[in-house]
Amino acid sequence: MSPGAPDLGALMARAAAEHRAGRRTVALAVIRQTLAAAPRFGDAWMALATVHEEDGRYDEAVSALETALDCGLTRPHEAHLQLAVLFADHLRRDEDACASLDAALMLKPDYLPALMNLGNLHEQRGNREAALACYTQVLSDPRFAEAPEAALRSVALARIAVMRPPKALDDPLLAELRAAIDTAPADLPARVHLQFALAHGLDRIDEVDAAFDAFARGNRTLLRQHGRRYDPRQESRFVDDLIASFPPPRDRPYSGQDEGPSPVFICGMFRSGSTLLEQVLAGHPELLAGGEIDWLPRLAFERLAPFPARAAGLSTGDAERLAEEYRSHVMKLFPGATSRRFVTDKRPDNVFLVGLIKRLFPRAKIIHTVRHPMDNGLSIYMQHMNLEVTPYANALSDIGHHFGQYRRLMAHWEACFADDLQTVSYESLVRDPRTTINNVLGFLALDWDERCIAFHDRPNTVKTASYWQVRQPLYGSAAGRWRRYRHHLAPLESALRAGGVTLPDAE
């Protein structure tokens, strides 16, 4: 280092410390200072990309990573992996994501996280055999057993078990899963994957009690991994605030026609069939399925924080400007949408944003998916959910409480926006798909299209927990599943009743 030249290592260490401490703005300033001193310092570009990604500036993050790779950096395979995650999770560029993962593996063939991500991406795209090949390689290649991320091998085993479920109680796969659980006591994330895989395997062969026990263990480990995040009183207060902040509108919205495709918002409880419905609608040539777009939650909980207080006072001008920003964002994500009449934005937690949505898009159509509360609650409990997104998901009583609050909120939105809100029942969709789909299309003033019914072989990417269910023809076995588990579901049933939820056929 020449005298007077900045110590780049020290600057990067400081940026990392500021970032760890949650001071992203300071971290960003230090990174920029580093880049001003050393514009070709690849590691600093990569650090910049991380901050951009956290701030939701995905294009800038990609650009920073590409510059990092161009400049050269200490761990280029990690930059390729980070690029792949950006492409796959935020920018709908799955081909580019695959190419980035291939590049990472080319540079470092034993880079386990890249191979696992490739397997996951294949799963999301419905490439079952390719996904299985990735996971099998993870388990069979001895290099991975020595990798620093060797714990991911348990996840590979779990994924194989979910994709190739056991056929009988003496299936060696079940013993293999149990042995893997026993050998991973301290690795909570790996343990959760294995416990849920075991539970699903037992559910598939109708070992109800053993399956429930395994789901309960998986959820307990999940809770230990994340810590308890659900506070029923806070949830109730949030719903109170939403109802107070977005009272029924006094005027009907104007009825003009916007330029470009109109957004359609699909919402409901997690596991209520929203992914399935979006897949159905994706078959229609006049509609583009946008999947889970994170623009609105970011707006609500970052730019409009504290939400809903600040959003309630949004001026008409601000609302129009934000609506335009949303449209630009969606058009950038889906340039092909210009020729469609609708783009769907499907997020279960749009439930909390209906008031904001209607403030930004007064004529927006909302599709609300519903499912039998007991089946819906059980399905959430049986899924390895992310407690940072669904903090109630690990406990039946919390699921029941959350369900009650969600129904209370939806009743308010229905009272406010009855004409623009259509409720679609999962059970109807399974039992009588043609009529149900036709009703939804009618709500959107779209004509019937036969392609809607053949959604399961559609070559697209599904980013939610439902990605294998939606690749099957309509999935009737999940309707009424709660009856098989009923003797384990008392905490769910009582929490639902306490929340005022009506339980059809549960008497």
Partner: protein
């Protein structure tokens, strides 16, 4: 089980009885096992820690609760006459929010049914009549409550070290009987020269025997043979004390030093007797299942990656 040796130990103010970090509490994986357990509790929770000793588990719970900005009600029992508030440095401040119940057996908990969201115990449950203790734990837990215990494992590093130390105590206290030799010498007030010389020679033989044993232990494993080191050190200091103290008083100090080592011996003996092997922990699991606990899960708990330090046992009251 005698309690005196434990009461003596806790009066020293020591908090943890296993691998500890700079703050005197359990650290690394052991601490993480407790933190992960506490992280599952709601913002308003009531906890019970049984056989709490000097309150190491409540201290970890309090640290965690403070970091989350929540305040839990914590009760802590021990069969020994503990008083952590007085005996642990800054106890009054550190244990703010904890109520201690000395002289309380886990088999007879003085709490109402369904009082607690969580029950814990670190190196605790195995010292009780486990079936009776678990009956009480089940009774005082609320439906939906969880219990977690860390129990001594018969093959843990602590147990292996304890068995070696017991052998060493046996050599010092029973075979060489160094404190008796020392006692005889230091309490000789006006003995004849020959008697004094014989007693001195007798002690020297004893010291050599202990030193040889210490050297042998060190050769086998560096840092081991602590019992020998303590005995030799005490012997030297007590011999020096003869210059300033009357023989009778030095004799009392020798008795006290010997009793300290005997107390350690009894603690180690308790530990070895109560540590659980595979069949022992399986029996505890069966007892828990028979009481109606579900989601019973046990794992081997390691410290610093490789040192086995115990069984981690979790259970749920439906």
């Amino acid at each position: 089980m005698s309690l005196e040796q434990w009461e003596t130990y806790y009066r020293s103010g020591a908090i943890a009885t296993g691998p500890e970090g700079p703050d005197g509490l359990y650290d690394l994986e052991v601490r993480r096992a407790w933190v992960a357990f506490f992280s599952t509790l709601p913002a308003e929770a009531r906890l019970l820690d049984v056989a709490t000793g000097n309150g190491v588990v409540p201290l970890i719970a309090l640290d965690f609760a403070r970091s989350r900005g929540v305040r839990w009600t914590i009760d802590a029992t021990d069969l020994a006459r503990i008083d952590p508030v007085q005996q642990v440095p800054q106890g009054g401040e550190r244990f703010d929010g904890v109520r201690f119940y000395p002289g309380v057996a886990t088999e007879k908990l003085p709490f109402n049914d369904a009082s607690f969201d969580a029950v814990t115990g670190h190196y605790a449950l195995e010292y009780s009549d486990t079936a009776a203790a678990l009956t009480q734990v089940h009774r005082v837990l609320k439906p939906g409550g969880e219990a977690q215990f860390i129990l001594h494992h018969a093959e843990s590093s602590l147990l292996q070290s304890a068995r070696r130390s017991l052998d060493d105590c046996d050599l010092v206290l029973k075979q060489v009987r160094i404190y008796r030799r020392l006692h005889r010498l230091v309490t000789m007030d006006s003995a004849a020269e020959a008697t004094l010389r014989a007693a001195t020679e007798d002690l020297a033989v004893g010291i050599r025997a202990v030193r040889d044993a210490h050297a042998g232990a060190e050769a086998r494993q560096r840092g081991s043979g602590r019992v020998f080191a303590v005995a030799i050190d005490a012997t030297q200091k007590l011999l020096e004390a003869r210059r300033t103290m009357k023989p009778a008083m030095v004799g009392l100090e020798v008795d006290r030093a010997e009793e300290d080592l005997r107390a350690s011996w009894r603690r180690l003996n308790d530990l070895v007797e109560h540590a659980l092997d595979e069949s022992g922990i399986a029996l505890v699991e069966q007892q828990a299942a028979a009481l109606g606990f579900t989601l019973i899960e046990r794992n081997r708990l390691h410290h610093a990656g490789e040192n086995l330090v115990g069984w981690q046992l979790s259970m749920h009251r439906p």
